[in-house]
């Protein structure tokens, strides 16, 4: 996926789409036309060379496609007349439309699956086939999903403009969540097509960088980018060559990417110095604390536990409680961790959840209850939907059997 032409096309896609939207409106039609122009360029440029003005080339080709599309549609004769009088596309405004496009693609009427797919195509510049491969579905399935997402946006009557006031903050939260989902999809790659999926993490970071460049003073945007960089830094150490998961405590820290850690840590510091504290910043601070420890044993668990406590106050959810239990167990011992886990007993969202079972298994093991730990590892292994995680949990269980 990363070739010079591919990178250039992915950078230009939102700019070209923005230029077309400014001129013609009609998000769905413009988006299709840009995708066709990008596919044409991807076929042509590697052999014939990149034109002097690649952006102008794409705008011209996409505009022609759009006009052809409208002409072939007899029911839209009036719009054809309107478009035909527009001057041919030559000058492209220099403003960056990435943010406006992201808000459009992450429209609240869409499901997260549609938001992620449309974002990757319209802003990320990925082809439908690439997105389909990354999400392990047939291209036709992904094409239908994207086309329906665009219909919904049209039905919602969205305009090509930044939302205003309080809506901007709400919509930005959705955008950040979508980028977070794209990142996680790549990060939790567990099947045979790891490479395709790892590219999703790369894409999410690239998009987060674009948003950060537009909104450098938004602490949560900074926090999310930092969180992604600090998490991505551990990628090489996170699985064995056979694809088995390596838990944080057992990772070879010399394989962590120091440049990413440094960049991420600087961003966390900047974000935390800002006025607004949000969940992405706190999660990034936790990741930075781990990154700061030369060995697992030297982790500042007191700080990690304190950060999880803050996180559980500003963004309470059972997963945060679970992680806080892990940190508290490191500071005050496994019994203290198990006591926090017991507060999740009555939570329907967590009943039989593999993460709860596996954390409990770890803490029971450390507390000396080997039979209980064995039982929980086995139950967690049955409950997970990830093969890599299942292999890991089975191996923990069989270690106790010996």
């Amino acid at each position: 996926m990363t070739t010079p032409v591919g990178d250039l096309l992915r950078t230009l896609t939102p700019q070209v789409l923005g230029a077309l939207l400014r001129r013609y409106g009609r998000f769905d039609g413009c988006e299709d036309a840009v995708q066709e122009a990008v596919l044409a360029a991807a076929a042509k440029w590697p052999t014939e060379g990149v034109p002097d003005n690649p952006r102008g080339w794409l705008v011209t080709v996409a505009s022609r496609r759009l006009i052809d599309q409208v002409r072939s549609d007899h029911a839209r004769r009036e719009r054809e007349a309107a478009i035909a009088v527009q001057p041919p596309a030559e000058e492209v405004p220099d403003t960056d439309d990435t943010l406006v496009l992201l808000f459009l693609c992450c429209h609240p009427t869409l499901t997260p699956a549609s938001q992620t797919a449309l974002t990757l195509r319209a802003v990320g510049g990925l082809t439908t086939a690439e997105i389909a491969r990354a999400f392990l579905v047939p291209e036709a399935t992904m094409a239908a999903r994207i086309s329906r997402a665009k219909q919904r946006i049209r039905a919602a009557g969205s305009s090509f403009a930044l939302p205003a006031g309080a809506e901007l903050a709400d919509r930005l939260r959705v955008v950040l969540h979508v980028l977070y989902l794209i990142f996680n999809e790549g990060y939790t790659a567990s099947s045979g097509r790891d490479l395709d999926r790892a590219d999703l993490a790369y894409e999410a970071i690239r998009l987060a960088r674009l948003v950060h460049a537009q909104l450098p003073d938004d602490d949560e945007v900074t926090g999310l980018l930092a969180l992604m960089l600090l998490t991505h830094a551990r990628r090489a150490a996170r699985t064995t060559e056979a694809g088995d998961l390596v838990p944080l405590a057992e990772q070879d820290r010399s394989r962590w990417d120091r440049d990413l850690i440094e960049e991420g840590t600087e961003l966390v510091k900047a974000a935390l110095a800002g006025p607004a504290l949000g969940p992405y910043q706190v999660q990034a601070a936790i990741a930075a604390t781990h990154a700061d420890a030369p060995t697992a044993a030297q982790t500042d668990w007191r700080q990690v536990a304190a950060l999880y406590l803050i996180l559980s106050r500003i963004a309470p959810n059972p997963m945060v409680t679970l992680n806080r239990a892990v940190a508290v167990a490191e500071v005050d011992g496994p019994a203290a961790g198990l006591a926090i886990l017991s507060t999740l007993e009555g939570d329907d969202r967590m009943a039989g959840h593999h993460r709860l079972l596996s954390v409990r298994a770890h803490l029971l093991e450390r507390n000396g209850d080997l039979a209980g730990a064995y039982d929980h590892y086995r139950r967690a292994a049955r409950a997970t939907a990830s093969l890599a995680e299942q292999r890991y949990l089975e191996s923990r269980a069989s270690r106790l059997r010996r």
Binding site: A113, L136, P138, R148, S191, S386
Partner: protein, 123 residues
Amino acid sequence: MQFLISMHINPAVLDALTDEEKEAIGTGHAALLAAVKESGELITTQALVDPSQAAVVKVRNGQPVVTDGPFLEAKEFLGGFYLIDCENKERAIELAAMVPDAAIEGLGVEVRQVMFADGLLEA
């Protein structure tokens, strides 16, 4: 998230349905199929031939031994499935409830998440 919605049929129950009821099953599946195709949630769907046409294969001492008929000694058999990619388990259950078989006593509709996938389908 990917889920298999499997349909466990009972040939005796199906035989006892009226023509109208059988037709309603057909239109129900057509409606579900159209909906999941349009929404971009369908990966594939397949229906299997009658269980009487099944063959059970065993290998004993390195030699295959084939017996005609289904493996399970049950009244219900796997009749077909929908493989879907949807938001979460709640949505998969919502789709499963649209399978017309779910409304008929004696037919079973089951939802299970996919754990590993590979193949030319890229699904």
